[in-house]
């Protein structure tokens, strides 16, 4: 468990943030720039002293202003990957990787040098200096350097923000591998919801220095607080399911979700893998009767649980489809025509193809360590 309860007064704003997130796992701090994300993790790392508060990781108290406890950052064993990588320019990539490793003498080396080089694909970069590396390569070395310091917590401060889209794709799979293969808890700071979707297990929403909501990603995806941060087109429920069947030729996979079944576009996943999909609210069609002769692959029978008016004459409707909840956005006119109200039975129609790009493996690989 990572327990954080911190207060920091800044001239621009006051940060008062509290959350307790399960570990291991990836805790995403999500919010717009200026919401206090970096300030928060600098305090967790011990680089910035809070005015008041506590930081507790597992059973260890790292910061407690009342008890006057402030473990020095160099003794916290908290790895930090900075937005701008901050590789030491006078050392090679290998020298950078070994910097933290050499200083972790007192703890057993659970993460070995060769292992990290393998996991992050660094073998060909070892002899190069930071200025000879691309942005993506630099971030991978920075990631490896932090890992090799044998951290008990890894903080990642928008590690992809300084990279263009192509370079992000160069680093993201490695982050997924870290999450799946190592049991190190991570705090991932981002303002890109797609990164959160792909990586996070627990989501903390920050706005103007306050925690708006915190919880598992699927749960938070349904909360109205998220909608105040996210662009309307990105609103949609996040559902996790197990792959029960794969149609390699059609490029689709069947997921078991709750009591139902969902066909999504997804390639290269084995049967039995856990998969996360986001069903965008704007892509969901609601029907009050079963419909035939449509190209839509999924018709999930469910019950309307909530109708929330939005701006621009649209409504957001929550449908319980036998456990999982689906969010659908329709116009107020359509809702009135169908007379949809809480308690009504509806079919939620989901095009398999509209789930493309949001299907992600989660903990797909077997845990390497117990």
């Amino acid at each position: 468990m990572l327990r954080v309860s911190l207060l920091k007064r800044r001239p621009e704003f006051t940060l008062t943030a509290s959350f307790a997130a399960p570990t291991p796992g990836v805790i995403a701090l999500f919010g717009r720039s200026g919401s206090g994300k970096t300030t928060l993790i600098e305090m967790i790392a011990g680089l910035l002293p809070p005015d008041e508060g506590q930081v507790q990781l597992g059973g260890t108290v790292l910061t407690d202003t009342r008890a006057r406890i402030a473990v020095a950052p160099e003794r916290r064993r908290i790895g930090y990957v900075f937005q701008d990588s901050r590789l030491f320019p006078h050392l090679t990539a290998a020298g950078n990787l070994r910097y933290g490793l050499k200083r972790a003498r007192s703890v057993p080396h659970a993460i070995r040098f060769e292992e990290v080089v393998d996991l992050l694909g660094l073998a060909s970069l070892l002899h190069r200096r930071p200025h000879q590396l691309s942005g993506g390569e630099r971030q991978r070395v920075a990631l490896g350097r932090a890992l090799l310091s044998q951290p008990q917590l890894l903080l990642l401060d928008e590690p992809l923000a300084a990279l263009d889209v192509a370079r992000r794709e160069e680093v993201l799979p490695y982050l997924e591998r870290l999450r799946d293969w190592l049991s190190i808890p991570m705090v991932y700071v981002s303002h890109q919801f797609e990164e959160v979707l792909r990586l996070a297990t627990y989501l903390v929403l920050l706005e103007e220095g306050r925690v708006l909501a915190a919880g598992p990603v699927g749960e938070i995806s349904l909360r109205s607080e998220l909608r105040s941060i996210l662009a309307p087109d990105l609103v949609g429920s996040v559902i996790e399911g197990l792959v029960t069947g794969v149609d390699a030729a059609g490029g689709t996979a069947d997921l078991a979700i709750g009591s139902g079944k969902l066909q999504v576009s997804l390639r290269d996943v084995p049967v039995g893998a856990r998969v996360r999909v986001q069903l965008l609210a704007r892509d969901i069609i609601l029907a009050t009767q079963p419909i035939e002769g449509l190209s839509v692959r999924n018709a999930l029978l469910g019950t309307v649980t909530e109708v929330t008016p939005e701006m621009q004459a649209s409504v957001l409707i929550k449908v319980d489809v036998g456990g999982p909840i689906v969010l659908a956005r329709i116009t107020e006119g359509a809702r009135a025509a169908l007379r949809l109200a809480p308690g009504d039975a509806v079919w939620a129609l989901v095009k398999a193809v509209s789930t493309r790009g949001h299907a992600f493996r989660l903990f797909g690989a077997p845990a390497r360590r117990a």
């Binding site: 680089l47 020095a72 160099e74 790895g79 901050r86 030491f88 910097y99 933290g100 200083r103």
Partner: protein, 230 residues
């Protein structure tokens, strides 16, 4: 013109020795003072800063005179050094080196300080999260990154130290073989009726030495910068 005389060689050797000793003495101190001026916050910092830079604006003779007042055989500090450590500074080569060190100190502090200000503190924070304590961080990150400035400061101070005149002649006098460095030998040659050829050769020598020093500094800095990847 006659071949290079032993007096000339003696002056050259002395100049090199005095400059080397002055740099060796003042470099660690310059790093410390630069660090204090850049990183420490304390009342009187501005005054301390001005004090360090004083030799730049004071007449060198005045600096030599102050040293004589402080460290002379009759002064308390001078007597204490003589009695406690057997160190006698006025009118010695070591004294010439000290006077030179005081005069070139601001030059060195300036260069070192500039390089320290350019060290990205984010890198030190990164080293911190990797388990490096304050001294460890300074030695493995800050100091190597300051190296171009330290080298530039050292070579510039060395080149300037070869030619220090006023403070040396006041504090250490003009003793052949002991404190008669290049500029003092040049001055002495100019004072003697038939010393013009010697004076000219010494002037040319000083010119060549100074130029070589500055070029060397530039070259070293470029080399180290490339090593640091900038």
């Amino acid at each position: 013109m006659e071949p290079v005389s032993s007096a000339e060689l003696e002056a050259l050797r002395l100049s090199l020795e005095v400059a080397t000793r002055s740099v060796a003495f003042s470099l660690p101190l310059a790093v410390l003072v630069a660090w204090i001026l850049t990183r420490a916050r304390f009342p009187g910092r501005t005054l301390f800063d001005a004090f360090v830079h004083l030799p730049l604006v004071l007449p060198p003779v005045a600096v030599g005179y102050v040293l004589l007042l402080l460290l002379g055989a009759q002064a308390p500090l001078g007597r204490w050094l003589q009695a406690g450590f057997g160190v006698h500074l006025p009118f010695t080569t070591a004294g010439a080196a000290l006077a030179t060190a005081v005069m070139t100190f601001p030059l060195m502090v300036r260069a070192v300080r500039l390089s320290l200000e350019n060290v990205d503190r984010g890198l030190e924070a990164a080293a911190c999260t990797l388990g490096a304590g304050p001294l460890d961080r300074f030695l493995t990150i800050t100091l190597p990154l300051m190296l171009p400035g330290i080298l530039a400061g050292a070579v510039t101070a060395f080149a300037a130290g070869l030619g220090e005149f006023g403070a040396v002649i006041t504090f250490a006098a003009n003793i052949p073989g002991v404190t008669r460095t290049l500029p003092l030998a040049l001055y002495t040659a100019m004072q003697s009726p038939d010393g013009d050829p010697l004076a000219l050769r010494l002037a040319i020598l000083s010119f060549v030495l100074g130029l070589a020093g500055l070029l060397l500094a530039e070259l070293l800095v470029r080399r180290v910068r490339r090593l640091l990847g900038r």
